[in-house]
């Protein structure tokens, strides 16, 4: 009898896009490694070529139905640089406002709709029930609150951009339309309820973390790595370039700053991407340290690690408590969930501040210019992490080359390490002796990936024509099995 088996969970439910996971057993019959395969391929970069750069916002917003705004903002930022203009201050503030709304709605979706059913209903609960509908019957108040919170975020995006998704509202040079006092007041009116929901989410999650989710902290991807993202001036939490942004920071797990004040313009000098034959998703790393030690995490966990303070009262209080729980530099990926809730709080507080600023109603919101620069890189913090758009255009502004570096892709290594850790922990020798795998285990592995809230449709945009296939390697490196699909 063969000592090696491959267990596949396909497809992972409740993550956007398609994925495949394989668990590889070594000669000793134990889990050696687990892999998260991304077999979806979209080739966005290729079909942007030849299009006017002014269309990039609309084209790239279609990469993802959950976080179109992130692409919109990154594309607009890159467009600003192609025009070589600094955008009107009101436009800067409005873009920030939209990014905050985007982070709120995306994090609300991740926590309340996709992940909390697992925590609240338990890994062993009936899979038919372990979703937002099950949550509605188990904890109707929390579920409804989550839905309302997401609606709030989407409502702000809609009020600003005219549409919930795919709002091509941020344009090179600024934004398309100013904010009216009426819309501002509408948004402001929604803030108290949103605050109440996130407060409730925080209470529920913190209680669970103190009790029966304790173990998850150490199993769901706790490991050292680098963290990368934008920081603001004065070491503050940051979600957007421009304004008070102080550039990209890279931090080690022990809290030492590896690099600081990096400009997105030079990203190619400090970031590199490794390729594995078993996934369309590349493995970005911090060049100076190589693929292993240079692997980093982005997103809520990274952003909270990189800053000293958030810069608003309630969120800063939560940040302190969060660090009490997880350390100054939090390495437990499970705390991505808590980090998301704290970020929602931060977003609500920052939103409040922006809306109080009279300048946000200024009507000059768009700078116009010709193509003044033929190559530009734009950066933004998407809900899932740092997002880079890099365009080269001809003298008329037609796209010649595009490179997109997307949040989910940057967490690729971390996602693989997380599922390996879970598989090793859960699939003990005794477990593996039993022929039947428990639903609970499969769900835990999926949940490990869900910590990162990956949107896979985004991250497999790179050009190339690798065939889709699944491979099984033995401990000696020999190819044991292979399935091809294209």
């Amino acid at each position: 009898m063969s000592t090696r088996r491959t267990i596949q969970i396909d497809p992972v439910t409740r993550i956007e896009g398609h994925a495949k996971i394989s668990i590889h057993l070594g000669p000793d019959g134990l889990v050696e490694t687990a892999r998260f395969h991304v077999t979806e391929y979209r080739g966005f970069e290729k079909f942007c070529e030849g299009r006017p750069f002014t269309e990039m916002a609309a084209i790239t917003a279609r990469i993802c139905g959950i976080c179109p705004v992130s692409h919109l903002l990154a594309a607009a930022r890159t467009g600003d640089k192609i025009l070589a203009v600094s955008i009107p201050p009101a436009a800067e503030k409005l873009r920030r406002l939209m990014n905050l709304a985007q982070i709120i709605q995306s994090h609300a979706l991740s926590f309340f709709h996709l992940s909390s059913p697992d925590f609240l209903l338990g890994w062993d609960s009936d899979p038919q029930q372990r979703n937002i509908f099950g949550l509605i019957s188990a904890n109707p108040e929390l579920a409804r609150g989550g839905i309302r919170l997401r609606q709030f975020g989407q409502g702000v995006i809609e009020a600003l951009g005219g549409r919930k998704i795919h709002a091509a509202w941020a344009v090179p040079g600024g934004v398309r339309a100013p904010l009216s006092a009426k819309t501002r007041d509408q948004i402001t009116a929604g803030l108290p309820e949103a605050h109440a929901v996130v407060r409730q989410g925080l209470d529920v999650l913190k209680q669970l973390l103190d009790q029966h989710l304790r173990e998850e902290l150490h199993v769901f991807g706790e490991f050292p790595s680098l963290f990368l993202g934008l920081v603001g001036k004065g070491d503050r939490w940051e979600h957007s370039s421009g304004g008070d942004c102080a550039g990209v920071r890279v931090m080690d797990s022990d809290g030492s700053v590896v690099a600081d004040g990096l400009s997105e313009d030079d990203y190619a000098s400090y970031l590199s991407e490794a390729v594995e034959p078993w996934s369309y998703l590349k493995f970005p790393y911090f060049k100076a340290l190589g693929p292993e030690a240079g692997s980093y995490r982005v997103g809520p966990l990274a952003r909270l690690n990189l800053c000293e303070r958030i810069g608003s009262e309630q969120a800063d209080r939560e940040l302190l408590e969060y660090r009490d729980r997880g350390g100054r530099v939090v390495t437990a990926s499970f705390l991505y969930h808590l980090a998301r809730l704290i970020e929602i709080l931060a977003c609500l507080e920052q939103m409040e501040r922006l809306l109080d600023d009279p300048e946000i109603l200024a009507t000059h919101v768009r700078a116009r210019a010709e193509v003044n620069c033929f190559e530009a890189v734009g950066i933004s913090e998407a809900p899932r992490g740092t997002l880079l758009h890099h365009y080269c255009v001809d003298e008329n502004g037609l796209i010649e080359r595009v490179n997109l570096i997307i949040a989910t892709g940057q967490n690729n290594t971390a996602m693989n390490r997380t599922i390996t850790q879970i598989a090793k922990h859960d699939l003990t020798a005794a477990e593996l002796a039993q022929p039947q795998l428990k639903e609970a285990l499969l769900n835990r592995i999926e949940a490990g990936i869900r910590c990162f809230d990956p949107c896979l449709s985004c991250s497999t945009h790179a050009s190339g024509s690798m065939p889709m296939r699944v491979q099984l390697f033995g401990a000696d490196g020999a190819l044991l099995d292979q399935v091809s699909r294209g």
Binding site: A57, A58, A168, R176, G397
Partner: protein
Amino acid sequence: MSVCTLRIDDQDVAIAAGSTVLQAIRSAAIAVPTLCHLDGLSPVGACRLCLVEVEGSERLLAACVTTVQDGMRIHTNSSRLQEMRRTLIELLFSEGNHICAICVANGQCELQDLAVRVGMDHSRFSYRYPNRCVDLSHPQFGLDHNRCILCTRCVRVCDEVEGAHVWDVGWRGEHCQIISGLAEPWGAVEACTNCGKCIEVCPTGALFHKGEGTDEKHGHPGRLAALVQGRSRQELEP
């Protein structure tokens, strides 16, 4: 002035001799789709959307280029015509590359509106995905050949109204394309006065103001008739 009387669908219509069938149809407030036709420009009968049935004629006739005759009996909305119009629109879509979601004219496009009007929910023809380019060489305007339906409104307005004659239709068959000058980049054509009339009359997102993003184009084809009329009465002379 002699007058013709004709019957259009169930209505009796009287109109000055020499008018076109399209004018007669419009005077009876009957809706017939048009695309290449634009009040203020000479008719060309390029798009065939205004086809009608005329009793006694085997062929369908394009209303915009057919002159009325006394006693004509015309049908504008038979199921055969409805099917024909839908087919024509589907062919226009499958011939070019129309990605409405990212188009400057999205929501403001005559082709898109017609697709809705004729009930086109999908194309029964496979898309050709031609390899066409975008010309952004002009300092103010752009031309995306992917969205051009060769209605020639731009050709006519530039020649007949502005008098600059920048545009022509070049090549043949499936390679047909609007060309500026002698198939030069638009920005290199000195005849162009930068008046922007072609942008205003283009029914689609093919011609646009540079820097306009998705949904941002607002053409004003209706302004042309007023302009032409005003000129003929010399209202607009200084």
